[in-house]
């Protein structure tokens, strides 16, 4: 077998298009190995590779397309031939051909990625109609079809996959029972105590749990379709049975062609993933390495990487995999690390903590000298999983009192974790599953900036929600390695956002063009980019508050600011008029409804106590706003990096507990700060008493009424990294409150980084809260008069951007979908769901 590159590429056949098989294809494509191999993939299912880990979400709204691991044209575009719905029936090793139900294909090398199949216990009656398995999308379709005429269902098997299946049956509104042969649930991962707790929690969800039940036969039922008869002649009637009693490697092809097979199944592979025939490799759940089958996706991916290396003449090896795992099964946290049962290490000692009220169980398995963590088990709360995994996988010495790791924390608030304190395993980008450790490794491998890290890891290129967090981790790690972090906003300016802000204010520069000509980097074309242009637009708006739709500012804006609406994934926009404090008259509600009806807009109440109207076509926006303005609405700035909403509870006007008029204050504040452009969006909350119904402590600015006035909290956040706002000043009267917020907000606008919310700004602020108090409350920098004056200018020059736009025909020209034709975009297609439009 030659692995030399030749003019004609070698034929590589991958049998199996599951997660691991697909991962190998991605590796081949990304590594450029397609120059060496012509790749053909056989998948017996009709769907292209999909995410089996999240299979249960198929019953909670996701479809085959959204579970797919790649775009429909990925294989074609990449130059890999995918033959779906084609089963391989034989490997002819003499002729070097793969034989399918449709033809014969020559091969130079084969990768077996056939995975596994669900084991169905040999019970008489197991092939009756309505006896199903849970493995593929077609299986799920069959379960869904059977569930339509069923009222109850049973899952045979109380392991990980069985509980997943039980969750799926619950999702189909079936009365669900789990039948387990062993004496407890999840016998592989959890011990008796943990399993008892798991059982209690699952039973509380209405799922019946039967353990130590061996099904003897399945026959016709009386009240239901089937009757299961157990070893003690007890019976259970049910309409639907799902077998989930473990998996077995799909090694039949390998058996038939004489490859070495393990005693209990699985294709034997070496460290290079080679089978006993070096032309054939095996990866994933069909492969048996060192007597072990790895039934998790991560080790499968590692094998795929090893296979790539073997195929391309590299020397990387598969050396086993850590089977530590954390799961959420039926909403219950379950975690298992290393030797969780403590039965693989003689002399191991155990710590256990059980809270029967909160229903949490934690166990540590430590070495006989108490120094090292050998394993751990968690039920009910995986909060300490990441930390424990660090101790385990890095062999870190345990603290003197190891039990402290699993005891409840008696101190009040959990310490906030800056980028330095996050564990290596902390997931930074959940779209591409990038951990802090991955980021550090990329930097150690030579990445010198954010773009480099993003290029290698793909972090923050999915939904983008982690952009700020990613940047702070990268900056922190670079600084920790002594790299001077270039804080330039982008390649056009050698300044930070704060630096640009100071230049604009000191020199009175009013346009982007003037700024880049005077202060831009000479070695660029000085057009700017999508980083610096919106940032400068925001700075100019904070300083001078000219309409963002003015000709000089239009090319600077993100599409949302340009069209003063929020672009959605199909190119339509959502419209959110301001509803200050969440207070709205019946007439205005009716007007909103009428506009939504007339323009076929999907309507949803937002978390900020207003109403979002989705699906507006670009060309309809001016008409929609004419009608909204006529009804007394103004723009809500939902599209801008600016004040969004001031959420409020109903306050002392109606509530018997309220001590101040929280709605009145919310409206005052919203009207004062509306239109203020800032580095990022700003949210307020005002609660009328200490019960805090407006959730003000999760906002950038939170205000809670007291008997004597208002308590002010700052720098809170909900979202991806929740942070409680901190108490900043107490018992302020109305005037003091406005003045303090004026200063605080302007100081934030002036000093924060681009797209930095107040919470992150505060965490990165040298001197922290104390410094902030000194500046804002004690005027340490002597700038408070100026901050207040500047805010007053913004307040005084406010105008509704939509009112301004619809009265200017030149500005309205911008809202044509096409400049030469009124034909609407035919690719915007809506369908109906729950009585409202949605993108098709």
């Amino acid at each position: 077998m030659s692995t030399q590159k030749t003019a004609t590429p070698e034929q590589l056949i991958i049998i199996g298009n599951g997660m691991v098989g697909h991962h190998l294809v991605e590796q081949l494509v990304d590594s450029g190995a397609l120059a060496q191999y012509q790749v053909t993939v056989f998948g017996e299912e009709r769907h292209r590779a999909y995410d089996r880990v999240h299979l249960s979400e198929y019953f909670s709204g996701r479809d085959a397309d959204s579970l797919a691991l790649c775009d429909a044209d990925y294989y074609a575009v990449s130059g890999v031939e995918l033959r779906s719905s084609e089963s391989v029936i034989e490997i002819d090793r003499n002729a070097h051909e793969v034989i399918t139900d449709q033809g014969r294909y020559p091969y130079d090398r084969i990768v077996l990625a056939t995975g596994s199949f669900p084991f169905v216990p040999p019970i008489p009656g197991n092939d009756r109609e309505g006896c199903l398995v849970y493995r593929t999308l077609d299986d799920l379709d069959a379960i869904r079809a059977a569930a339509e005429t069923a009222t109850n269902g049973v899952v045979v098997g109380g392991g990980l996959l069985g509980l997943e299946a039980a969750n799926a049956l619950r999702g189909l509104n079936l009365d669900t029972a789990v039948v387990e042969f062993a004496s407890r649930l999840m016998p592989m991962q959890v011990d008796n105590e943990g399993s008892e707790l798991l059982r209690e929690k699952i039973e509380a969800l209405g799922v019946q749990v039967l353990t130590e039940r061996a099904t003897q036969r399945i026959e016709d039922g009386d009240a239901s379709r089937h009757r299961m008869v157990f070893q003690d002649d007890k019976v259970l009637e049910t309409d639907l049975i799902v077998f989930s009693a473990g998996i077995r490697p799909r090694d039949q092809l390998a058996r038939d062609c004489g490859l070495e097979i393990g005693e209990r199944g699985g294709v034997v592979v070496d460290n290079q993933c080679l089978t006993s025939d070096p032309a054939i490799l095996a990866i994933g759940e069909v492969a048996l390495w060192n007597q072990s089958i790895f039934g998790l996706v991560a080790p499968g991916y590692q094998m795929a990487k090893t296979a790539l290396s073997t195929l391309t003449g590299g020397d990387s090896h598969f050396g086993g995999a850590d089977m530590s795992t954390k799961l959420k099964l039926l909403g219950v946290d379950v975690g298992s690390i290393g030797d969780a049962h403590g039965n693989q290490n003689p002399g191991a000692r155990m710590f256990r903590y059980l809270d029967p009220i909160k229903q949490e169980y934690r166990k540590l398995v430590v070495s006989s000298d108490g120094k090292k963590l050998l394993g751990a088990m968690l039920v009910g709360n995986n909060g300490v999983y990441d930390t424990l995994l660090q101790y385990y996988s890095n062999g870190i010495d345990l603290p003197d009192e190891p039990a402290s790791l699993i005891l409840p924390q008696s101190s009040g608030a959990a310490p906030t974790l800056g980028p330095g304190a996050l564990p290596e395993t902390a997931t930074i980008c959940s779209c591409h599953n990038v951990t802090k450790g991955d980021i550090c490794a990329t930097i150690d491998d030579g990445a010198v900036d954010l773009a480099g890290v993003k290029g290698v890891t793909k972090a923050s290129t999915g939904c983008g929600g982690c952009t700020a967090l990613l940047k702070s981790v990268v900056d922190h790690e670079l600084e920790a390695r002594g790299v001077e972090v270039d804080k330039s906003i982008c390649e056009h300016f050698a300044h930070t956002r704060q630096g640009l802000y100071d230049i604009v204010r000191v020199e009175g520069i009013k346009t982007f063009t003037a700024l880049i000509e005077k202060h831009g980097n000479a070695d660029t074309h000085r057009l700017g980019c999508d980083i610096c242009k919106p940032a400068v637009a925001s700075i100019l708006a904070s300083c001078f508050n000219e309409p963002i739709t003015d000709a000089a500012h239009i090319p600077l804006q993100d599409t949302n600011d340009t069209f003063m609406a929020n672009m959605q994934k199909n190119g339509t926009y959502s419209v959110v008029p301001r509803v200050a404090g969440g207070e709205i008259t019946p007439d205005k509600l009716i007007a909103l409804g009428e506009v939504a009806k007339k323009y076929s807009l999907y309507s949803k109440v937002t978390g900020g106590q207003r109403i979002d109207l989705f699906g507006a076509r670009l060309e309809d926006l001016p008409d929609i706003w004419s009608e909204l303005i006529a009804a007394g609405f103004e723009t809500g700035h939902a599209y801008g990096k600016s004040l969004r909403t001031v959420k409020s509870c109903v306050g002392s006007t109606w509530c018997r507990y309220g001590v101040q008029d929280s709605v009145g204050m919310a409206i005052q504040l919203e009207n004062r700060y509306k239109g203020l452009r800032a580095p990022h969006k700003i949210k307020f909350g005002v609660s009328g008493c200490t019960r805090e119904c407006a959730e003000a402590q999760s906002k950038d600015i939170g205000i809670i009424a007291t008997e004597n006035g208002w308590n002010l909290y700052v720098c809170g956040n909900g979202g991806m990294r929740p942070r409680h706002a901190e108490l900043f000043a107490t018992d302020l009267d109305d005037e003091q409150l406005y003045r303090t917020i004026d200063r605080f907000l302007m100081f934030y606008v002036r000093t924060a980084d681009r797209l930095q919310r107040t919470a992150v700004w505060r965490e990165n602020l040298d001197g922290g809260l104390e410094y902030l108090k000194e500046v804002i409350l004690e005027d340490r920098l002597g700038i408070n008069d100026e901050l207040e004056r500047q805010m007053q200018t913004v307040v005084d020059t406010y105008q509704c951007e939509w009112s301004d736009a619809i009265s200017d025909p030149e500005k309205l020209k911008r809202f044509r979908s096409f400049v030469n034709d009124d034909r609407p975009d035919p690719s915007i297609i809506m369908t109906s769901e729950r009585g409202q439009p949605r993108p098709a």
């Binding site: 700017g528 980019c529 999508d530 190119g571 400049v819 034709d821 034909r823």
Partner: protein
Amino acid sequence: MTAMALKKEMDTMASQDSKTWQKVCTKADLVEFSGVAAWIEIAEGPAQVAIFYLPGDRLQGEGKPLYALDHFDPFSKANVIARGIVGDLKGSAVVASPIYKQHFRLEDGQCLEDESVKLQTWKIEFKGEEVWVEG
């Protein structure tokens, strides 16, 4: 060559044969340093094109005032490219998709983040105050 690649190439050849210059709009319809969308007629039927206008000599050297690219964003699968922010990156004029922010070179439609993705481009020029596209 796969059957699919062959078909793509044949399609490209067919459309090259039947290209004609057509008037699309006037200078007054354009937005300086930004984009607008327009319909053009090509061999396969109507097509949506994004037109970008970079007046003056801001692009040192090779600069042109007009660029025409496919309005369709292959990442979001929506017709939105004309609504992206125009700028320059690493020496080339680019537009950023308004949805997932990938950058496309105005000159040839090449995506900077993904080598395998390239937007179609058309020849475009002023004839007096009129904007003409070859499609």
